[in-house]
Subunit: 702 residues, 2 copies
Amino acid sequence: MLSIIFTLLLGLLGIVFVVQQIRFVLSQDAGNETMQEIAAAIQEGASAFLNREYRFLSGFVVVVAVIIAFFLNWQTALSFVTGAIASAGAGYLGMYVAVRANVRTAAAAQRSLSAGLSVAFSSGSIMGMAVVSFSLVGMTFLYLLFNGDPNQITYITGFGFGASSIALFARVGGGIYTKAADVGADLVGKVEQGIPEDDPRNPAVIADNVGDNVGDVAGMGADLFESYSGSIIAAATLGAVLVSSDTSPLTFITLPFLVAAVGVIASLLGTLMVKADEPMVQRILQALPAGVTEALIVRADENSTQETLLSVLRRSVWGASVLVLLFTLIVVLITGVSLNYFWAIVVGLVAGNGIAYATEYYTSYTEKPTKSIAEAAQTGAATAIIQGLAVGMHSTVAPVLIVALATLLSIWLGIRADGTIEAGLYAVALAGVGMLSTLGVTLATDAYGPVADNAGGIAEMSHLPAEVRVRTDALDSLGNTTAATGKGFAIGSAVLTALALIAAYVSVANVESLNLLDPTMLPGILIGSMLPYLFSALTMTAVGKAAQGIVMEVRRQFREIPGLMEGTAKPDYKTCVAISTENALREMILPGALAVIVPLATGFILGKEALAGLLIGATASGFLLGVMMANAGGAWDNAKKWVETGAMGGKGSEVHKATVVGDTVGDPFKDTSGPALNILIKLMSIVSLVFASSFGAGFFTF
Amino acid sequence: MLSIIFTLLLGLLGIVFVVQQIRFVLSQDAGNETMQEIAAAIQEGASAFLNREYRFLSGFVVVVAVIIAFFLNWQTALSFVTGAIASAGAGYLGMYVAVRANVRTAAAAQRSLSAGLSVAFSSGSIMGMAVVSFSLVGMTFLYLLFNGDPNQITYITGFGFGASSIALFARVGGGIYTKAADVGADLVGKVEQGIPEDDPRNPAVIADNVGDNVGDVAGMGADLFESYSGSIIAAATLGAVLVSSDTSPLTFITLPFLVAAVGVIASLLGTLMVKADEPMVQRILQALPAGVTEALIVRADENSTQETLLSVLRRSVWGASVLVLLFTLIVVLITGVSLNYFWAIVVGLVAGNGIAYATEYYTSYTEKPTKSIAEAAQTGAATAIIQGLAVGMHSTVAPVLIVALATLLSIWLGIRADGTIEAGLYAVALAGVGMLSTLGVTLATDAYGPVADNAGGIAEMSHLPAEVRVRTDALDSLGNTTAATGKGFAIGSAVLTALALIAAYVSVANVESLNLLDPTMLPGILIGSMLPYLFSALTMTAVGKAAQGIVMEVRRQFREIPGLMEGTAKPDYKTCVAISTENALREMILPGALAVIVPLATGFILGKEALAGLLIGATASGFLLGVMMANAGGAWDNAKKWVETGAMGGKGSEVHKATVVGDTVGDPFKDTSGPALNILIKLMSIVSLVFASSFGAGFFTF
């Protein structure tokens, strides 16, 4: 109980930090009139999308909540609504700030690189800390509300379901939006009309900028909100069934919360390391002995280069990791659980960093794999595509081996600690919690990228001096590097969370036999493995359809608005935004519904064993397909960027054209279908966990 | 015992038919001198490749045989060698005839379409019947040799392993060869020098034609030889552990052999329906009542259109299917086993046709999916690629649902028959045998395609009248349709066979618990799911590397041989053939070795449970990735062909160029990596089955 209140308080501390950071960002210079005008259009478009999306989602949430209340109980329904609201709230806040921080980043970049970083990173840290603290406050609030009820943890699974539902639609809808706008703007603007990217004459340019925010800020935030909440819920659920000789199950339930809570402190401190010039941070630093301050802080100043900035960001993430391990060790020692659980958390954190490193290796253009794509592009687009797919497939090896080893090690540690397989699975769940414990700061390094990207767009459109664009480009490219790391964490944590949730499902559903050769198990695994393919097919086609709508509209405007090309007339940005919004929302419904309906139908028709098979199959298959698509997409993107630095003939060469084809294929891979698979596997697992007690043996009894 | 001798005799009957057909093909007119010269070059290239491949494989086979004899016993080693020889023999024979039938088909096509079909189809039927009868003769010979030994079926699993090893290298090596030569010939010939396809001035043209034979004839034959043998072995192994109340286990062991045996008769009769004008067939037909003859035979004559020919081929496959069911019913009634097993065989045969139908739907340009790719090509190559991948992913849904349902139904039927899960798994294996029972004729309709393709090339190179090329093109396009069907059967049967082999492995390895949540099981499943991705990455990269070698050589020849472009000097075909051979053989070793070493290492290090997980993961993941790649490749190919018929702007348009990019990406998809996955999943299962008794609990004991 004390631990939960402690967690709640740290969650609230996180919210205080968020409020303070929002004040900081909004107090910055918002630039000249043109910049503010453009920013206002982006803000309006983003709000329009989120409002429409949330309106649709409210209906969905109400319907599902009623179904849950009817079939299960009001407590789970309430948790579901709370989870949905907390996730949507964090996403809304993150977006609200991001579309205001973009123009302020552009303005600050007029001063220096590090001033730009400070604003952009503050915006990212708001998203990061909001996700973490909203999740912890929401879950501990429910925990206290249901306190004393033996089913309290079961009810709280509803929170995860609510968060997952929002995440799915935010990722899928946002992913479709951002790529449809991007492709639509490029196809007509760059290709047909020959005007540069981010040109204000392009009617889809605002929609494109809005897309970066709805996809990469709100979508990514919702994705990790779900992983974060799901990993804690899975660990708590498995902890509840763990009966150990020397500790009460209650300790096992609260341990994941405590680890998350100390993660908040570690993330806060990590974040402050980046923002060493803020007055509040200065005061803290002055209180420390001088040697400590020097060791911790790489000060970004007016003359900082990109390398310095990268090392600032890296040091903040590493610093937070070291701190979280230290704090966790203390927690483990105080609660008196086996030290093995501490090691499981270490395994999770190391595995997360390992996957992040592998992701960076395969998608960075300083490394062989991405260069090999540009080399293959010398014989044309087809060979660039083949090589990119091969790189994507090859890149699955390391993450799979890392996750397999992490799972094996943490199960082993858990079994060594308490002698039961339940303890082993609990340790897997803890590894997931450990991997995400520094989310507050890792998400910050990730979510600031789109802000920098937008800042570049605004600088371009408002004709700021070229040096400003150079600085925002440097920030953007820095963001791409940290985003690769973030994607590694996102996929790794999704898999560990899904595995833990499946284990929790099996435990709650009381599945007696999980024999692989059970009659319904093999069909379950096969169908589960197929779902990520169907899901990807639907989302990729959706991007195409939605982009088609934009293309038509942009062509229409160039044809019907006189003076548009000459810059004497203004394009109608709003219609493009409206079309993107409409199409994205329409196209997200079918894949989204599938993710909820298929596990439920399987559980009721084929039975709870088959559902377990389906979840395992979907997790393994979704993991692989997701990594392949995300990394192939990232590698194509960077192969193009490498050529644009002048390699292999440089911009405009035949090789460049071939890499552009690769990049375009990669767009829905890395920004729509790939990331959506993370959500698919978690959502299916949590839906199954929430309804676990309702499933029977199915209709095929033997 | 009687059943085995009966099977052996029918196998021998098949061989008699093969000999008679070889005589028929070789007795046909071999065309004019130019044609014979070209054909000789192709024959020489094909022999050179197979000789070098088989020399390498002999070494491999000897080494593995010694290892088997050392770790297991000499009987399994002998079976291994027999399986390897039988498979290699069938492949060699098929190729030997195919590279002689091609020129004779071209010569016959000078007379009429149906004369051309007769020669080409005879060549295909030799491959089909050789595969079936060599497999049956080999296995029954071993059965009789080991008769009385309680382990006789366990020894015979070695036959499957031998067949699989050959298949892997034939498919992978052949797949790399054919695409490297194809891409190499096209890149320099068509793109750089602007000369048409199949132009005799292109130094790689002979290698390209050889490639069609080594890839699609020898490779496909070895693939299905393995499925066919494997499905029978899996069923016999599972039958051996089946103790029923009213029948002896011996009946269950021999039942799959009997079903295969009556399948030989059915396939023979089906084949004869196509060859109604041969004297031998005429004599049989005259003995039948006139009404029966008319109902059975669609006579292909001088004026037959493509539709008539397709219906001839379809009727022969359908006729064989009906016959096999009739004969199987009789067998089941005579042996006295439950009728449910008959229904399981029906389920398998229906499922095979269902998958074949689905494959045709997704890859035929008369249907929506393939057309959608051409439509997407209107906005460029990138959208054509995205749409093709989406179609490929979407096309996995039907095959997975069909296999899942077939598995569920046959397990259900088996359990209903004998009340045990073993009976259920036995029924799954029987469904696999049922699906392949008409292989003799289905493979014939598939393996004649490359012969027709080659015939077209020869007609082109020897400047035969245009109408001949029109006819061979018609035969080729007919072959593409039936090849799609064949690919559906290949993948469906591979999955059912793999599942049955895994069940046999679990039974022989005496795996006590197959709990999905066992410590080593999840890592096993994850690693297994990853292997098909790694395998595909390696094979796709191999094609690229091998093609690069050809490109260099062809460029060199155009540069250094004076008069080559003018047609006054002859290119050096042999060096291109030698380079293709060398590269393909070198590149096939790593993926091939992986497929053998990984399951063994997993079994020894992580233990037998983890290996079961690995196999399940690899089967599910390989099935999906394989179907996706094969169908995306087929759809891209036909989208291009559809545009070439004049749709969407026709040949030479921008849309056409975009579909050419898709087709090139699809080449390694459909002809190298995709089909190789069929083998990967079967080979890993059979390796595990052969060494099943050697695996322990592994090093991670808990």
